[in-house]
């Protein structure tokens, strides 16, 4: 994770619009070091796999008991006994291993995964994560492995849109949705900017089609430029 040396400056990419979903996935993939053990949450984070060079030593973990997960299976490759956490048929890469659920979550909870990438409803300025329950009455709650990943991985990256369809910010001073984990998020990748969650506050790593000043005006949580933040 040497990408963000304390001396670096926030990069404002202004000659373009916000990132597409594929570009977001590629941005996350770029920041995952070679040789990392990585868990990609269900939904949008799954797309990060398309931009990881699995041949270069990144190994994917799936909570349902496997390291060395390959791409989605198609046609004759489909095996109902081989799925990812989203129950989608996947493939096996050389060097894979299978293990049972208690061992799989011991691996997660024990801090052995280098990175996990999760979706979110909200992230707070101190890294609280809300991604499992909208809290709406009548909604059927489901948590799966989200809480285990949130507290277990060495680095927790969130991928989300920065604002809801109604224009409300999802990077907030304090989450209003039920929490998944407390102070667990390290980075937030959005279409408009990538944020680092540091003990001393939120720092903008780069922006896409907007400026730090503009983001600061639209967010209630204070954000700073990299060059204005203390070394982390």
């Amino acid at each position: 994770m040497t990408l963000t040396a304390p001396s670096a400056r926030t990069a404002e990419h202004l000659g373009r619009g916000p990132l597409s979903r594929d570009e977001m996935a590629r941005t996350v993939a770029r920041d995952i070091p070679r040789g990392s053990y990585v868990n990609l949450g269900i939904g949008q984070p799954t797309k990060v796999a398309d931009y990881l060079d699995l041949g270069s030593g990144v190994v994917l973990h799936t909570e349902n008991g496997m390291l060395g997960m390959g791409p989605q299976a198609h046609g004759d490759e489909i095996d109902p006994d081989l799925t990812n956490a989203g129950k989608i048929p996947v493939t096996e890469l050389p060097g894979a291993s299978y293990f049972h659920h208690a061992d799989s979550f011991a691996m997660m909870r024990g801090g052995h995964l280098d990175v996990c990438v999760l979706g979110a409803f909200q992230v707070s300025g101190r890294g609280d994560l809300a991604n499992w329950h909208t809290g709406e009455p009548g909604a059927i709650p489901a948590v799966g492995g989200a809480m285990d990943l949130a507290i277990g991985a060495k680095s927790v990256y969130v991928m989300m849109s920065l604002f809801t369809r109604d224009g409300a910010a999802k990077l907030v001073p304090a989450c209003t949705y039920p929490l998944t984990g407390v102070a667990c998020v390290d980075r937030v990748y959005t279409e408009q900017a990538t944020f680092l969650i540091r003990p001393d506050g939120v720092v903008v790593l780069e922006t896409f089609g907007t400026t730090v000043a503009d983001l600061a005006a639209r967010l209630e949580v204070p954000v700073r430029r990299l060059e204005d933040a203390a070394g982390a």
Binding site: N64, P80, D81, L82, Y98, S104, R109, I140, G145, G152
Partner: protein, 229 residues
């Protein structure tokens, strides 16, 4: 000592109303569909079912739910695209739900099988799922006290079993099977094939026969498995 049953019906005989039943599988991978069908036929009701999900489509666990045999589900992820049977029961107030984070669900069953009285778990600390639970800060980190989760019965699917009950699984269908096998008073296993004692390499046994009370051969679950076995 492991008994090899002739039929799924024989394998599930004697399961009583009010039992807590651990049911293997993650979605349909590893779900013991034939044993669940036999349990529906057998008739036990008022069950508490522990399983990662709350049924998919109309078969397996979903069929047991649809038959009205389940009073309470303990699971991590009930809501899925094809969990309409559970969804309907839940919205109608006809089923209780205890939601447990997936790793805590597995670890609570492991604790039951391993004779651990309780354990301090970091998962869910500071979230609504920790409400009402005892917590403790250890080395500066907050943990939630979690208790063992035992089954009266476990119904699981493995790949191959020998006549002593030693089991191997297949790919991610392994999931909860090995843990549930340790956590129930009566462990019932369906396998694609029963083989003679000595046919499995002792280095590769995943569930030792000590955990298996009843074993029944049901044939392969699907075509891909047939080829690989």
């Amino acid at each position: 000592m492991t008994a090899v049953a002739a039929t799924p019906a024989e394998a599930v005989a004697g399961i009583r109303d009010g039992s807590t039943v651990l049911i293997g599988g993650f979605g349909m991978a590893g779900m013991p569909v034939e044993l669940i069908d036999a349990l529906i036929e057998q008739g036990a009701g008022d069950l508490t079912v522990v399983s990662n999900n709350a049924g998919n489509g109309d078969t397996g666990l979903a069929a047991l739910l649809a038959a009205g045999r389940v009073r309470k589900m303990i699971c991590s992820f009930p809501r899925q695209s094809d969990s309409y049977v559970f969804d309907g029961l839940y919205r109608a107030g006809k089923i209780e739900l205890e939601l447990v984070p997936q790793g805590t669900l597995a670890e609570r069953m492991r604790a039951a099988g391993a004779g651990i009285g309780a354990f301090y778990c970091p998962t869910s600390a500071g979230t609504p799922l920790a409400e009402g639970k005892e917590t403790r800060v250890i080395d500066g980190r907050e943990y939630v006290l979690e208790y063992p989760l035992r089954g009266d019965v476990a119904l699981i699917r493995a790949h191959i079993g020998d006549r002593m009950g030693n089991l191997v699984y297949r790919k991610t269908a392994r999931n909860f099977g090995p843990v549930m096998a340790t956590a129930a008073a009566l462990t019932v296993v369906q396998v694609s094939r029963v083989v003679e004692v000595g046919a499995l390499d002792p280095e590769n046994v995943v569930t030792p026969g000590i955990y298996v009370d009843r074993l029944v051969e049901v044939g392969p679950a699907h075509a891909a498995q047939q080829e690989a076995s």
